[in-house]
Symmetry: D2
Subunit: 359 residues, 4 copies
């Protein structure tokens, strides 16, 4: 287990899908910040299942409690304990799966690693694990916004085979993102994505997608060469999310096909410093933020738990069929949007605080 993340802004998460609760301890939060549970609840509500007919029918209120680290609405600089009680526990739903490791799920590997695993709901590999991250990252977002004016907005740029390239991220808002069920702010593409998800749901199948993210207002100088480069920590953060298979910053894989003379971003004067005309770099040079917006994309595979019957083997190796009966989303990508944002916020705030040692 390695359930803590960050060097100075350090988050330790805990909690299974079906225990008493999930949450996090945030160590290293700057003191004197105004904070209340509402600041955190907003992102938890965006992450919550059951927000639309497109997602899982589980209704979980997911109300966060701040256990410590505050007095009179201000952070003390001491650890902030965050707790969300689990409700709506129906362990019976997962009973049958005990003998059959779900294909492309973590049942088999948890058993091999720990010699034991949560009999119900996937334990720490459940999407519910992300609640602690989101709660902690919501605090990071608030600080980044207040201190440096950083704005982080993620959106769905692909759902299955439906992609959208018609989005200008420079002025995109979360309100625009939340305007569609699929969290794609390109309305035409969003409609096609919605159709696709309905179709897939009907077929008891699932579909993946891509979440893109922009971080505006990040000043030059954040990122710690060489192993804690900004893009390296973002990559770790994103690939630590359930169901992720890829990460790109700036030009990403497409950039490999360009020539250096095309890909290089020419410097120009911007304000009192330098900026670049293009931003193939995605806002980082040598692992350090350049002052240009940080732009990255994260690939999410289709959800592994599907109702459709699959051929597979049980733990003994005997061939069998499996048709999952539990509650599951046909497409988690819209709910991944706040998770990507809050993980990015954790990375950025940690690097911002680390940079202060040089001031």
């Amino acid at each position: 287990m390695s359930s803590s993340f960050g060097t100075l802004f350090r988050v330790a998460t805990f909690g299974e899908s079906h225990g008493r609760g999930v949450g996090a301890v945030v160590d290293g939060c700057p003191p004197g910040i105004e904070l209340d549970e509402g600041d955190i609840q907003t992102q938890l509500d965006r992450r919550r299942p059951g927000q639309s007919e497109l997602t899982t029918p589980r209704q979980e209120a997911d109300q966060v409690q701040i256990l410590s680290g505050l007095e009179n609405g201000l952070t003390l600089g001491t650890p902030i304990g965050l707790l969300v009680r689990n409700k709506d526990q129906r362990p019976g739903d997962y009973g049958e799966m005990n003998q059959i490791p779900r294909p492309s799920h973590a049942d088999y590997t948890y058993q091999m690693k720990y010699g034991i695993r949560a009999a119900s709901g996937g334990g720490r590999s459940s999407a519910r694990e992300t609640i602690g991250r989101v709660a902690a990252g919501a605090i990071a977002e608030k600080i980044l916004r207040a201190r440096w004016g950083v704005e982080i907005v993620a959106w769905v740029s692909a759902t299955g085979t439906v992609e959208s390239d018609a989005i200008d991220p420079m002025h995109l808002t979360r309100t625009q993102v939340d305007a569609t069920l699929t969290r794609c702010p390109d309305l035409e593409a969003a409609a096609r994505m919605e159709d696709l998800v309905r179709e897939v749901k009907e077929a008891q199948d699932s579909v993946g997608g891509i979440v893109s993210c922009i971080c505006r207002g990040v000043p030059a100088g954040w990122g710690e060469p060489v192993f804690d480069k900004l893009e390296a920590l973002l990559a770790q953060a994103m690939l630590s999310l359930p169901a992720t298979k890829g990460f790109e910053i700036g030009s990403g894989f497409a950039g490999t096909a360009m020539l250096g003379s095309q890909h290089n971003d020419p410097f120009v004067r911007k304000g009192t410093g330098l900026g670049t005309l293009s931003n193939y770099a995605g806002g980082v040079l040598g692992g350090i933020s350049s002052g240009e917006p940080v732009l990255f994309r994260v690939a999410f595979k289709p959800v592994a738990t599907i109702g459709k019957t699959q051929q597979t083997a049980d733990f003994s190796g005997a061939p069998t069929e499996l048709a999952a009966r539990g509650r599951h989303d046909p497409c988690v990508v819209p709910r991944a949007v706040p998770i990507v944002e809050t993980m990015a916020a954790q990375v950025l705030l940690d690097l911002a605080l680390r940079q202060k040692m040089r001031e």
Copy 2:
């Protein structure tokens, strides 16, 4: 700065391109392992510039010295100091660049972060920084091979616009990879890649590419949920390499367009445990190795330093032209092959040692 990596097998690197030397301290190497400088030199030689007409003409012997941690050819379990002396220092080559931050290079961001930067050669953002990683990772490779039979082989699967899909990684060897100058074991594609690099070099331009990597023989159970998942640490390791812009494991970005019923890898009996029929997962489930080969890909952008004249601005913001005169590669991707392998080895060995706490 954050120049150390790993939890139990912990590597701290040091060194600029033009100081006295570069190297690493490896802390946490298991005791009683046979080791000599030759074990390390092999990968350093594969990383070395000047191996062919396609790469930089710098001739650096890059001979490694083991400073500590050994007696009678066996590791003591104590820190292993590794040193490669710098030679062939020609700081004059870079003089002009002091006033002009090279586009898409780290001159500007280092200056903004540290308020100072190496006047010559890029300092820690130089490719020479990777020597310490390769030396340390070569030790990790040796241990992985001896203890668990793990084989790591990386190869070039794309150079600029030339891609190869005709490679079966299951039996690929380093000898096959090294058979072509471009380190693409698909001979037909390799020839086209070579042509492309020559053409680009002629134009004083540069080109990027993709390095693919397979890790065979990784047992089930490695990887520490949730923040140190195997794929999360691989992503961090790879995005910490100079010039990288993307990381994919298994199906990666392409997998987002698949349905769950296609993407799920059905379990079947293999040996005494389970394996999967397909491997879209890329050898990891829930952040833990499954026993199937670990497969990933890394995107490298075209080298930023090019001889071709570029429009840009100097540090004051005044428009100017820049045509780099220093020594530089038109394509670093072939030399990235051993770097990718040795970084992967560091990640795997660290996770292997961490898993031992549960045995």
Copy 3:
């Protein structure tokens, strides 16, 4: 803030004296261990205030809740969330102290460090902070006992000017320690200690003392040279406890007056390995456990909060008098006994797990 401790068995604590609750997240607990709340409650009860007329009159039930990491009474290897709700909050008691930093307390330094501090009860510098440590360390104790037969027993060897040298720690039990209110198993000395504490309490003053501790059954080989030597981590752990001023292992300060020929512990055959005739080393050689019992002592200063009137200054520097009215112990040393034991357990288990990488 740095509220986490340990490398593989990693504990993150949270909680102020007067917020909603205190607790910890234990990351890296081995899987498959039988555990319930009773295992933890025993040490929390020994730490609890209000156990006797000698201690603070606060009555806090301090019931622990396990929030996660368990299923069917077995640990899953996933993070264990631990929560103790705060009750009996009387913030008014501390109102007056807001303008006057209590002498030898942390009011002043928290204000200087964070620019803010908990207005009531001392925040993280309150003794209540230790609940999270004790809860987490109680889990470590259980594992050490079950897996390696390690027994940890601490006792009070001095209270103020009353010392006891008449204790043979080799067979000492916690039952014997708990037989007296002062937790000194030397009954004659215990009686004099009790008299002293009553006298001091009467005078509205306070008194310090020394807690000694033995760890029996620690196998040879635990401890990570050079910075994480067993004695170095014990020293950090003990000096991180509130009110501690000193740490000794084995011969300690007295050993400095001996000759090498007296102080050296001669080796002899013991069982299948070696032991030593004397144990001035205190069970460690070169930072690694030797197989002999680990013996150390911790100095606790007299409690800073006293009812007696003191001359001091307020935050503005103006001279003033202070007579604390809040609830406070005349002597915390008996309650420190389980805290010392559980912190020692955290250190030992972490080092035991780290040693497994070499097996």
Copy 4:
């Protein structure tokens, strides 16, 4: 192995007594600091054996080389590689000891931990290991002095049974400390210490002692509650030094015998803030520096390696005699003075940098 120390100013040391060299990598050094090898050499020379007839006759120049991290005499903020080549290797001296673990030395425990050990000179448990620490800490000292005016002075306050209480540390200088061979600035006591060491040397025995240390000019606010309290990290740092058995801050063990009303340090106005009339606290309150001088003491046991014949057992458990023939000091305490200073500097600078996240 755990050979790295610090969170932001992070030092990784390497090197055995008889390999090619010893040294350190310093990660996180602030940029733009004037630094040359002379800054480091001064403390290495004070640590060096063979400085007087009282110490080991080994003559080692111990010249440090800075391998990286500098340009034009200024730190770049990148890792600083430090190397001291080993000379004067006479492995034969230790040949006989291979079958006999030296009493109170680490031969036995290294063998039990690693299953192997350096056949000559004690490996990482040799005093030579401290060279890397001293070199790294000398850099920390320079920065603390330049940025905050911090002055660290250690001295010998006891050698064996000879103690000195006649030293006023408030104005003590290193020149005064170095005025006597025993590094005790109380000339009368120093003379008696010298006599004792000569006598002990004559008898082929050894003697321990106590090093006291003052850190003047430490501003209020350094130290990270709760596990990385200033005194906790100092305790870890000091108990990680070879041959240490105890640590006290402020009143230490003697303070346990005082009443709270005596021990509490009353606040008074000092400059623009508060100070205290007495300083039993030793400059820390609740783990955070108070602005008063930090005062601590470290106990060193008598050197284990002595020429006098000892009864012991060999590795097989058979009784035997041992009379060490290698080169060894009768008293290492004077040479420990710069080691204590430089380790204190590492702790202070790391905490100073960590505090900057709140500025």
